[in-house]
């Protein structure tokens, strides 16, 4: 049952971890070189997996040891996995290019702690994310989730200050509680149905208190890790305190790992037992996140905290796809619009938020601070970066032709076609609130500097280029509507959602 190209799945997971070990062994400046080489190799692997999936209509499968489920472990990559792996690969590449400036080992020094740690953690996070996307059973997903947490938490406290250490510890405690609750759900599912494989569970689960409990536990645990309102309290200090490149990885990618798990569970394992009110509740939390996150972001004095609260809000959008997909299935129509809209929202947010955090890092280097009210002069010193920030903001607001626009278009059309107009209203209000703080930041940055002001540091051109490249990825993502690409649906069965 191992499909040709299945070995690529193993490589996609193994190559980053081999890079971590090679970087630790070789040490010094070589950790950065190994990481950059791995970024190139990993991108090639992910593109090959995408090609392999396009060539066949079945998901790419690899059976570990040749043993089939339920006794064996399968790695499975369908359209959702491949789309996320491509997005993660592109963002990691952009962050790696940018981080050469911040975390490159300076000449004359053999090795610095921050540099070695950052490159190792970047590769570890990438490997963990790939494992999240290709895991075929819920326990491997638990292991992948923990790997992602272990890679993400030290990224928060790379500079060693006590505030970031506290933020990292708080993040770790939230994440550990979330994974313990998730694990309890996994054990209950095994106890009830005798298998952990996602495809087999999807066939076997039936509506019962055991399944509802397991679904609720797993979802709650994953919501704690995804920082959905009201479990978002750990996110702003953690993401704002981390160095810019680390914030980009945390906000853009690590959050998406646990979110992808919710998608995998609700679309593949629990579609038959998730009730209408459960999806409404989940998206209701999403709307609360959008409102609370955006409104608190408006009141922030510091740019990085503003962007972190913007992440809290954008996470809410990711959960709006669930009632829309459920509604489409209940009406026995194709749920492509909702699922593709959710995926596009995740990808455009990942690229846009990474660009925004990296732009904030460049602004901090140039101005020496990141107070929003005193950003004047940043536009004069960093024109390309401020433009990139504006483009990324446009994607978050949902202006055409950005990916955010296409995602909201798909979600709003799904909302209107399933007669759930309230989600469309929430998205529009959220877009309006987002536009307010994006405009505030850009307007302050475009103001002329004080007389005699000089930038504290000239940032290298390639860092600005990396920020611009990611922002353009997000801004031009709406162009995928022109291609008859149906990648998110590739290799996925069309499950009929039956009202319980």
């Amino acid at each position: 049952m191992t499909t040709p190209g299945g070995m690529l799945l193993v490589l996609a997971v193994l190559v980053p971890f081999v890079a971590v070990m090679a970087g630790l062994v070789l040490g010094g400046r070589n950790a950065e070189r190994v990481a950059l080489a791995t970024v190139a190799a990993g991108l090639v692997i992910v593109f090959e997996i995408a090609r392999s999936l396009r060539a066949s209509s079945e998901p790419v499968v690899y059976l570990l040891g040749g043993w089939a489920p339920p006794l064996g472990v399968a790695l499975r990559a369908d359209g959702l996995s491949v789309v996320m792996m491509l997005a993660v690969g592109v963002v990691i590449a952009g962050v790696a290019v940018y981080a050469r400036g911040d975390f490159g080992t300076p000449t004359g020094v053999r090795e610095t702690r921050a540099s070695l740690t950052f490159w190792s953690l970047l590769m570890a996070a990438w490997g963990a994310l790939n494992l999240v996307f290709v895991s075929g059973d819920v326990f491997t997903l638990y292991v992948a989730l923990e790997l992602l947490t272990f890679a993400g938490v030290p990224l928060v406290c790379l500079d060693g200050r006590s505030e970031t250490l506290r933020a990292a510890l708080r993040y770790l405690l939230f994440a550990l509680l979330g994974s313990m609750v998730y694990l309890l759900g996994v054990f209950l599912l095994y106890g009830g149905y005798g298998t952990l494989d996602i495809a087999m569970l999807g066939e076997r689960v039936g509506a019962s208190p055991l399944t509802w409990t397991a679904a609720a536990l797993m979802t709650a645990g994953l919501l704690a890790k995804t920082a959905l309102f009201p479990l978002h309290l750990w996110l702003p200090p953690a993401h704002a305190g981390a160095p810019a490149a680390a914030s980009a990885v945390l906000s853009a990618l690590v959050i998406k790992g646990s979110w992808f798990l919710v998608v995998r569970l609700w679309l593949d394992v629990f579609p038959g037992i998730v009730t209408w009110s459960a999806t409404q509740w989940l998206a209701g939390l999403g709307v609360a996140a959008i409102l609370v996150g955006n409104i608190v972001a408006l009141r922030q004095a510091r740019l990085k905290l503003l962007i972190a609260y913007s992440t809290v809000a954008q996470i809410g959008y990711l959960f709006l796809m669930f009632p829309l997909a459920a509604g489409a299935r209940a009406a026995h129509v194709d749920d492509t619009a909702a699922v593709t809209g959710g995926m596009l929202q995740a990808i455009s947010h990942a690229t846009a938020k990474a660009a925004m955090f990296m732009a904030a890092g460049l602004i901090y280097s140039t101005l020496g601070h990141d107070r929003v009210a005193d950003l004047r002069g940043a536009g004069r010193a960093l024109p390309m970066t401020i433009l990139a920030f504006a483009l990324a903001g446009a994607s978050l607001i949902g202006l055409p032709p950005s990916g955010g626009f296409l995602a909201k278009w798909l979600l709003i059309s799904a909302a209107l076609s399933t007669a759930q107009w309230w989600w469309a209203l929430a998205m529009l209000v959220g877009g309006l609130l987002t536009s307010v703080y994006v405009f505030i930041v850009v307007m302050h940055a475009m103001a002329p500097p004080d007389v005699g002001w000089a930038p504290k540091r000239t940032v290298p051109g390639y860092q600005q280029g990396a920020v611009m490249a990611l922002a353009l990825c997000s801004f031009l993502l709406g162009a995928v509507a022109m291609f008859p690409l149906d990648l998110p649906r590739a290799g996925r069965p069309h499950v009929a959602w039956v009202a319980p």
């Binding site: 326990f139 060693g160 200050r161 250490l165 506290r166 405690l173 095994y190 952990l196």
Partner: protein, 113 residues
């Protein structure tokens, strides 16, 4: 029949751990509470293994394998948490997750938070 009592014990452990995690302000107490929750969850897995006993074996081997993996993962997680805590103590001289007074948090450059 014994498994049911073990299941109740597991539920009790998880409850005690959750209470400790939420109520205790000290980070070390939170880490210990997380471990107690972990013990409860692992006990649930062991009950699942016992109830699946067949073919003359004492218990279903798959949950036992899951259990060992999960114990190792939770141990590594505790190690990371304790390492962070030790480093926080070295840097600050005290271990608390509370931030300072919000009104006095920002310095002249607006840094803090």
């Amino acid at each position: 029949m014994n498994e049911m009592w073990l299941g109740y014990c597991a539920a009790g452990l998880i409850g005690i751990g959750l209470y400790g995690l939420i109520v205790n302000p000290q980070p070390l107490h939170k880490i210990l509470a997380f471990n107690i929750i972990g013990t409860g969850v692992f006990l649930v897995c062991a009950v699942v293994a016992r109830r699946g006993a067949a073919l003359g074996m004492g218990g279903d081997p798959i949950p036992q394998a899951l259990l060992i993996t999960a114990i190792v993962v939770a141990f590594a997680a505790s190690a990371v948490a304790v390492a962070l805590l030790v480093r926080l103590f070295e840097v600050e001289g005290r271990t608390t997750l509370d931030e300072e007074d919000a009104s006095t948090r920002t310095d002249r450059d607006g840094r803090g938070a």
